[in-house]
Symmetry: C2
Subunit: 352 residues, 2 copies
DNA sequence: CTGTTAGCGCATTCAC
DNA sequence: GTGAATGCGCTAACAG
């Protein structure tokens, strides 16, 4: 009888996909050894490891993720959640995370929030209950949404927050040096002889915008300029708001350079300037922030600051995949000044 | 002994997440009945259905996708594969698919191909072997990549191809009325009095571009115009190529309107025209295609043609989720002319 | 270091 | 219509 049972197990021929059992048989080891090799656990004799790997290769075996996750360890799925991100930012965020996931055999699932139609996040909560994410990358600006963080931490899901506004213990923070980038922009303008500036900030609460402003102003201060040399108005990161802000700015004061908190608003500035017959950069310098495609779709192409979004999201994904110490971890990535044709030597001040 | 065993099963208290067993107990039915209700199978008495649903709700039960897929049916995961898609197109494609997936309790995983670094698609093949996609949405232009289709069909994975160039039996095709959109554009221009046109096509093999060209020309023909009234040059969908194409066009012939196969190239045209002091639309009308954000980031905003990308990808996802008849299915979605300020009444011809 | 065994949570034959 | 039993492919204790 006992032999029969054993036989039964042995008889499990490679019906469809090969299973871990087939591999074990082919390699002449037990299933647990195969499992250990698959998961890269220590304490396996090198010879066995090799035998198993050969068996895996020859059989073309690939572990079934569903079966792997059933016993309750990982799901090999990491999520990326965001809300009305700019397509450009979204694409780069995904690419970085996707490559990291692929390299580790993970899948990246995307989840778009809709804070308007679903303010209570019930849909998101449902998804969270259904899907068993091994970790979640939270993009700005939802990285600072308390309810989202609560939902996630309530379920004990690890998260990596991109460019968050505050610290949340136990979560991973990934940010970039917005201040440094803004400072580099300031220095660039200073070197071109500009001493009076128009600035278009983002929405009041926006962390990135605030950092960009403070970075710019600090740099100015360091060079001995008074804070009053920059006239500030706010926009909402859209092209239209950039246009309006530009009009407002032109009436408020005199300056030779306008710096917007992102490229889209800078594009709006360009449109207004163009319509008014103010030549860029001869009569006015303009810069953006982000180095999005927009920067090169307008004329003249924008001087701007690039942030390494892909690297950041890849780092976020890898943190989640590594699943190391529960402790938080902060990574700050460098930004880079990109000089194009929208900035030039200071001319005579324009405006009131 | 038997009683003991039974007891053991009964004793499975709701340790962590509630399971189907807990639901069965709470509803006073068997697990298979619960399973039937969950999967919406017929032949279950209404009273039971209700009881089960109440139990599910009160316990906050959500089926474990891993456990569901282990027995070999679906994985509840559908993939979206693409290659260097424009961020705008990508974002919309995803949003549509994502919403459809969410509504059905599916997850959408994104997979970016890299035909340059991985021309053999080995990485993709590996992912395909590992992940068990219930279906895959293939975006243009990879929807026409033979190797991809082969890999997919070899594994018996259902696919929904977006805007494909050819038919592949057994796959779902989703396209939009590019020709109709181009025809609408032509009619619009004709009504404004234009009779000579400059056209910037996309890369020679590109299906969408070809359709747009033919749609435009047919409309012209219908209005009694000779094909020779349109001067054509090719671009590669980028801003720069739009600029070059515009320069080439201006030297080749005379016309009062330029239509580009996408918005980015049209933006390039605008830049060149602006630099040359040619006023749009007074001296030259310009139109794009896609109604991407670019269309509203330039000055003047572009008259263009919108395609319902989100609806298309949602339809693709739903086809995959419905998993109905193996037969192919073709859906053609309407396009829409969007008139903005880059087109106006025909002026005196400009150019050679 | 390595093999044995017992489930993970659910869909699915089958009987009834 | 409904329930009981079997196993999906794998990991995770345990023994050894």
């Amino acid at each position: 009888m006992i032999v029969q049972l054993a036989d039964c197990t042995q008889r499990r021929v490679s019906r469809g996909k090969p299973t871990i059992i087939d591999v074990a048989k082919a390699a002449g080891v037990s299933v647990s050894t195969v499992s250990r090799v698959i998961n890269g656990e220590a304490h396996v004799r090198p010879a066995r490891i090799e035998a198993v790997q050969r068996a895996i290769a020859s059989l073309g075996f690939t572990p079934d993720p569903a079966a792997r996750s059933l016993p309750g360890s990982r799901s090999f799925i990491i999520g990326a959640i965001f809300e009305k991100l700019s397509p450009f930012y979204l694409a780069h965020l995904q690419l970085g995370a996707m490559e990291a996931c692929r390299a580790a055999g993970y899948l990246l699932v995307v989840e778009q929030l809709d804070l308007v139609r679903d303010p209570d996040l019930t849909a998101f909560a449902r998804t969270l209950a259904t899907a068993r994410f091994d970790g979640v990358i939270v993009a700005p600006p939802v990285a600072d949404h308390p309810k989202i963080i609560d939902l996630l931490s309530a379920r004990g899901i690890r998260m990596a927050r991109i460019a968050p506004g505050n610290e949340v213990p136990g979560t991973c923070h990934i940010e970039c040096d917005d201040e440094g980038g803004a400072a580099a922009l300031a220095k660039h303008l200073l070197e071109l002889g500009h001493v009076r500036f128009g600035m278009i900030a983002g929405p009041p609460g926006n962390v990135a915008s605030v950092r960009r402003q403070s970075g710019f102003q600090s740099a100015l201060r360091e060079h001995g300029l008074d804070p009053s040399c920059v006239e500030t108005v706010v926009g909402d990161f859209t092209f239209e708001s950039g246009m309006q802000a530009c009009e407002a700015l032109l009436e408020k004061g005199s300056f030779t350079a306008i710096v917007a908190a992102n490229d889209d608003m800078a594009a709006g500035v360009l449109a207004v300037l163009h319509r008014r017959g103010i030549v860029v950069p001869d009569q006015m310098s303009v810069c953006g922030f982000d180095d999005s495609p927009t920067a090169q779709l307008v004329w003249p192409p924008l001087t701007t600051v690039r942030q390494p979004i892909m690297e950041m999201s890849a780092a976020a994904a890898n943190f989640l995949i590594r699943r190391d110490t529960e402790g938080h971890e902060i990574g700050v990535f460098p930004t880079e000044l990109v000089v194009r044709n929208s900035t030039g030597p200071a001319a005579a001040p324009k405006g009131a």
